[in-house]
């Protein structure tokens, strides 16, 4: 499947042009991308560390996970919306970029791990083996820090 026309279309939308033509919109959107990322990675890391049994041990996994989930999800929403706007303004740069597909696949994997697995196994009523919690936590850390590293790499490769 050739994705070039799709990327060209993203690159040529009205929003793409508005962001490109402005001196300030891109940096401002990128700042929001970083705010969201800090919230997302910070709260998710604490949850993952609790699942690994090396942080917040005075609380149960469910206590940490359920109370932090709204902040993780809120952070994810801010990061993804701002990230999509950044992408629109430089879709063609992303098209030829070796790090971009890595970032997208890791992001997809991270979202699947979080929403389909992690949220379920950390509910108060869920009964899973502690080893399962650890495996999921490692996967989660790998995916999301991978997204961040690949994202930073886009600017350099």
């Amino acid at each position: 499947m050739n994705l070039l026309p799709l990327f060209q279309w993203f690159d040529s939308t009205a929003i793409s042009n508005i962001i490109r033509d402005s001196t300030y919109i891109f940096p401002v959107v990128e700042v929001f991308h970083l705010f969201g990322l800090t919230l997302l990675l910070g709260t998710l890391t604490i949850t993952d560390l609790r699942m690994l049994g090396i942080g917040m041990r005075r609380q149960t996994v469910a206590q940490v996970a359920t109370q932090l989930a709204p902040w993780t999800i809120g952070g994810a929403i801010v990061t993804i919306i701002s990230g999509f706007l950044l992408f629109l303004s430089e879709a063609m740069k992303c098209y030829g970029n070796a790090a971009f597909p890595w970032k997208m696949w890791l992001l997809l994997a991270g979202l699947i791990v979080y929403f389909l697995v992690q949220l379920r196994i950390t509910r108060p009523e869920s009964r899973v083996h502690p080893a399962m919690l650890k495996v999921v936590a490692v996967l989660s850390l790998f995916c999301w820090y991978g997204v961040a590293v690949a994202g930073r790499a886009i600017a350099f490769v």
């Binding site: 919230l39 990675l41 890391t45 560390l49 917040m56 109370q67 590293v149 350099f156």
Partner: protein, 164 residues
Amino acid sequence: MDIQSICQAISDSSIGTQLRQSTYVWPAIEAVHVLSLALSVGTITLVDLRLIGATLRNEPVTDVIEQTQPWTIAGFLLAFISGVFLFWSEAERLYPSYSFRYKMVCIVLLGVNAIYFHQTVYRSVDKWNRSTAIPARARFAGWFGLIFWMIVIFLGRWTAYNLK
């Protein structure tokens, strides 16, 4: 010798020059800076949100602070060390930048805020540890941290665009 020429000498040094010209080391250091920032500011945000009563309200304040502290400190040390190297590589451009200067001032203010909080209202934490009615001075410390860390991130990103 004024500060500008000292900064010029710092970035002209062999380490500064090698950092600037490297293909992989500089991006790697910057990646470490961003990831450790997420860890330190992320965990600080958690404490601040607890102080303003926005999350983890069922957990004692001391549990949140004591258990996140090692990660906050580790993240901050990594961010600080990687930041020193980033500064080393372009000191003469960063020193005159207003966004960089304000960023440094904000970090100092945040340090003062944290020390002040720990030395004053946190000493009587036993009285409000499990409460959602948190003393105004503790809530102030929380709001201060939330707002000024956001400003630090904003100014850090702004510096990169050289939009003084």
